[in-house]
């Protein structure tokens, strides 16, 4: 017992003493939700970053990455940032994953004047607070709805839409912006509801959607609920002009693999393997062979974030101020296309993301929109359920 | 003058009558024995009198107050206190703290409560155990602790539920003496007991319950010679 107490004492003291920095390589922090309920998507970020570190090494940039888990909790994430900024003295930080943790960390990055590059959190406010040290690669929630409704109004003449979103930060803000955009385009919202994610049964809600008989069904699902929603839509016989899906739930490989229920569904995403940027296809294959599964756009965003951070830091030396300048003025070209951080529409240091729309055709994601990036023609309207 | 009046009290659980139509009176300073075979409804009657169950029918008058519907804490504040058939020591508190909890019924001062507690502890003869944890006491001392604790609430009427149960003869004898001492102070007592010899010795009056009904009432001699009691109860044992 004494020994255990002693160990605890040592650990407590260890927290207090700053570590001796002795690295010659570039120290970059990476905060992610490795455990906890956000872990399933968080995993993609970790993998993406691992590939980035390999590629940076190839470019002669030796990154000593310090990985921190925040369990999806803001106060843990703050502790992680605190440790990275003051104890490990990293030059810049990539992460964290969720919007809640990003919000908490962004303020702190400002205080410590450490560049924070947010890879995947999409809450709009994060880059609307006049923060100087926070940069974001991820698109914002509004972007998801805009591109989908763009496609829908170009391909058909939908008059009504139902919105069904998961009751989370991402879900609610994506639904809100979709509603605003729909109004702009003269589409009437005939049904709007938030569901609590993780429920095994959405049939009753979907039956209601069916009764409202909308032209478009816009769904936001970050988790694997997307599969449940579509399976149960089939059961109920919900068959609108088009299913529009936003969020990770609709753009993971498992979803596409369920072709019986996913065929014909449109989903908006920040990156696809068909994306005409960089070596997206090769990168996709490399990821798949290394980790045994297909990457999501989060993986791509995290990869690109780390690539940018690594290259910028290499150029800036061990200087945070210079690194920030690099991020502020630099331009990068990678698997997300050309990335630069701009001020627009009330945003600061925000990548203006080119969203893509994928449609599942024959169990595969095919980029169908916008036209200049499309590899296949969109199938419109929804062909109906096979019996 | 009657300190306690039980008037036609009945208690039903679902359709079962645990007590039906029980009536009797107690006068100031007496010891009343309450006897009857297992399941006769003695403890249920205790629970009704002390507010743990509201009686289904009938009235309970204590010191002029109508008690029906009063909660146990209010009952205690009016001056009626009970012990439990299965002792309920506050196991993780020591003896004096246990008794202080009782004493705090009449005072807000810990100091005063401690003085009262120490006095009652001496009365029951636990003086050497003041600092012991209640949970560590043997059964005989737990029973005494229980008595000290109720005494500390400064009751007018004490209801003792089998305080001699599970004790050896020497311990029982101590308790008997204690009950008689308490009588000396002028506290009225109602005693449930299975030990017939003891109950005959201490009681001024005895009420016999059987199947929830009052079978007989009288002084010990009358009860011993009551044929119905002998048949239903004493004979049956």
């Amino acid at each position: 017992m004494k020994r255990v107490l002693a160990l605890m004492l040592v650990l407590t003291v260890a927290v207090m003493i700053p570590a001796v920095a002795m690295a010659k390589t570039i120290k970059i922090g990476f905060i992610n939700s490795i455990t906890g309920s956000e872990a399933p998507i968080g995993e993609n970020l970790t993998n993406g970053v691992i590939l980035a570190i390999e590629d940076l090494k190839g470019k002669g940039v030796d990154v000593d990455m310090i990985k921190e888990d925040d369990m999806g909790k803001p106060e843990k994430s703050m502790a992680a940032l605190e440790k990275l900024a003051t104890r490990d003295k990293v030059v810049g930080i990539v992460g964290p994953y969720t919007s809640a943790t990003s919000n908490a960390d962004a303020k702190m990055a400002e205080r410590y004047k450490v560049p924070l590059l947010i890879p995947a959190a999409s809450k709009e406010e994060i880059t609307r607070q006049n923060l100087k040290w926070t940069y974001r690669v991820s698109a914002t929630t509004g972007d998801y709805g805009t591109i989908l409704l763009d496609l829908a109004t170009k391909l058909g003449k939908p008059k009504t839409m139902a919105i069904l979103n998961e009751n989370t930060d991402f879900g609610v803000s994506a639904a809100k912006s979709a509603e605003a955009i729909a109004k702009e385009k003269g589409i009437k919202i005939v049904f709007a509801q938030a569901y609590s994610k993780g429920s095994p049964d959405y049939r009753s809600t979907l039956a209601e959607v069916k009764a409202a008989n909308p032209d478009l069904v816009f769904m936001v699902s970050y988790a694997a609920d997307a599969i449940l929603l579509m399976r149960q839509s089939q059961e109920i016989g919900l068959s609108p002009m088009a299913f529009l899906g936003a969020g990770a739930g609709f753009s993971v490989a498992q979803f596409a693999a369920e072709k019986e229920i996913s065929n014909g569904v449109f989903s908006s995403t920040q990156w696809t393997k068909d994306a005409p940027w960089g070596d997206s296809k090769a990168w996709f294959q490399r990821y798949q062979s290394k980790f045994g599964k297909a990457p999501t756009y989060h993986a791509a965003c995290a990869y690109e974030s780390m690539m940018i951070m690594g290259q910028a830091a290499a150029a800036a030396g061990d200087n945070r101020e210079k690194l920030r300048e690099q991020l502020h003025t630099g331009k990068w070209n990678g698997i997300l296309g050309e990335v630069s951080f701009q001020d627009y529409d009330g945003y600061q240091n925000q990548r203006k993301a080119q969203m893509l729309v994928e449609q599942i055709q024959d169990g595969k994601f095919e980029t169908v929109w916008p036209a200049q990036f499309a590899v296949k023609k969109p199938i419109w309207p929804f062909p109906g359920w096979k019996k | 003058m009657a300190i306690l009046e039980i008037k036609n009290v009945s208690k039903f659980f679902g359709g079962l009558a645990a007590n039906s139509n029980v009536s009797f009176e107690m006068t100031q300073g007496m010891i009343m024995g309450l006897i009857g075979p297992n399941g006769a409804g003695k403890t249920t009657l205790f629970n009704c009198i002390t507010g743990f169950y509201p009686p289904s029918q009938g009235d309970i008058l204590f010191d002029g107050h109508r008690m029906n519907g009063l909660k146990p804490d209010a009952v205690c504040k009016l001056g009626m206190a009970r012990t439990w058939q299965k002792v309920r020591p506050l196991t993780k508190m020591n003896v004096v703290d246990n008794v202080m909890v009782g004493a705090l019924c009449r005072t807000n001062s810990l100091h005063v409560a401690r003085e009262i507690a120490m006095e009652k502890i001496k009365v029951v003869g636990l003086g050497s155990r003041v600092k012991s944890l209640a949970g560590s006491l043997p059964i005989g001392e737990r029973k005494k602790l229980e008595v000290a604790r109720v005494l500390a609430t400064q009751p007018k009427l004490l209801l003792l539920d089998e305080v001699m149960g599970g004790l050896n003869p020497a311990e029982s004898e101590e308790i008997i003496r204690l009950i008689l001492d308490i009588k000396e102070i002028g506290i009225t007592q109602m005693v449930i007991e299975h030990d017939m010899k003891a109950i005959m010795r201490i009681s001024d009056k005895i009420v016999v319950l059987n199947s929830g009904e009052k079978l007989a009432e009288g002084n010990p001699q009358e009860i011993v010679s009551n044929k119905a009691v002998v048949d239903a109860y004493l004979g049956g044992e």
Partner: protein, 356 residues
């Protein structure tokens, strides 16, 4: 040490001095410690101690094992931030409004739930917290799932003098420390009063307590009210410090469990239990989370970073820290059921017996 442990009434000199010295040390600490990381951990410890001490009044002394205290933490956090963000009421008033709201709600909840005992009460407390979480998720007032983000905290002024502008951690540190000291003093006062006796009597045996003139519902509500004051203050402090709240962080079951865990690890129903629990649990889980153990092994030169074990530790341990935490939790419950304080006490009495 013996005086310290068994001191239930009148304080003897030594522990008083020790406590005052510790408090003084904590007050001076920010002047010497430059590491803001350490301050951050200290603030998290303080918040944990405050909410643990609050829970301890209800759970430790009164024996009502609530696993729903996140509800009151959340009410404090939300009230403070809603008032500050949308009504421009400064948080040092807002926090007290939060306390009033939390206590009022707690009394309603208490008068309903305290009719239940044992595991039924525990389950009801979980249900109440879940109702609050799900409600906050759907209300406009709380901004639903999107949560509330602080734009900035107004500077704290007395007259025209700015006391602090909340730009550094130090003001949060002191707010935490002062609240913590008050919480511990209140616990002491409770323990040495009629309330404390009554609370413990209810914990030990509710029926016996009832028959001794104690109104259990009233005293349980009193315990809940005191408990909620500190839980709510901890929530307000957390919200101000972290700057962002949403239902899944301040109203989650996880949080309720964390509160209980602090107390049990330390030792429930004792003044210092929650403090000891927090001082051990918070840095320990932080050390696990940030992979400090693996780092320490590598830094110390025991294990080379490039060796198989080294890279395994560095890569995998960050995934395994919750697992380790879980294993330790199981071990503590099995081998130290009375918490660290109880265990220490047992060791001490054992040793004393051996020496005698």
């Amino acid at each position: 040490m013996r005086l310290f442990m068994h001191n239930m009434r009148g304080m003897s000199v030594f522990p008083v001095l020790l406590t005052v010295a510790a408090a003084a040390g904590l007050f001076l600490l920010p002047n010497f410690v430059e590491s803001t990381y350490a301050l951050h951990i200290m603030i998290l410890i303080f918040i944990s101690v405050i909410m643990g001490t609050g829970w301890n009044i209800l759970g430790g002394y009164t024996g009502q094992y609530s696993v729903g205290h996140a509800a009151y933490f959340g009410i404090g956090a939300y009230t403070t931030l809603i008032l500050m963000q949308y009504h421009h009421i400064a948080p040092w008033y807002g926090a007290w409004v939060g306390v009033v709201v939390a206590v009022a709600i707690a009394l309603v909840v208490g008068s309903i739930c305290f009719r239940l005992r044992g595991p039924y009460f525990t389950l009801a407390s979980i249900a109440v917290a879940e109702i609050f979480r799900a409600t906050a998720l759907n209300l406009r007032l709380t901004n639903g799932a999107e949560g509330i983000l602080i734009t900035d905290i107004p500077p704290f002024k007395i007259g025209n003098t700015v006391i602090t502008d909340f730009m550094s951690k130090v003001p949060f540190y002191y707010m935490g420390l002062v609240t913590l000291i008050i919480a511990i003093i209140v616990t002491r006062m409770v323990q040495n009063s009629k309330l404390g006796y009554y609370f413990q009597a209810i914990r030990e045996d509710q029926d016996a307590a009832h028959s001794l003139g104690i109104n259990p519902t009233a005293y349980k509500n009193a315990a809940l009210a005191i408990s909620v004051v500190f839980t709510s203050l901890a929530g307000s402090l957390y919200a101000l410090y972290v700057g962002f709240i949403d239902p899944s962080t301040v109203l989650a079951l996880d949080l309720s469990v964390h509160i209980v865990m602090i107390c049990i690890i330390g030792g429930i129903g004792t003044i210092w239990g929650p403090a000891i629990g927090a001082v051990i649990l918070v840095p320990f889980s932080e050390a696990l989370r940030s992979n400090m153990i693996a780092q320490a092994l590598i830094d110390s030169g025991l294990i080379s970073e490039n060796s198989r074990i080294g890279s395994f530790l560095k890569d995998q341990l960050s995934h395994a820290h919750v697992l380790i935490y879980g294993i330790l939790l199981v071990i503590v419950i099995l081998y130290m059921p009375d918490g660290i304080l109880g265990f220490a006490r047992k060791l001490l009495t054992k040793r004393r017996k051996e020496t005698i």
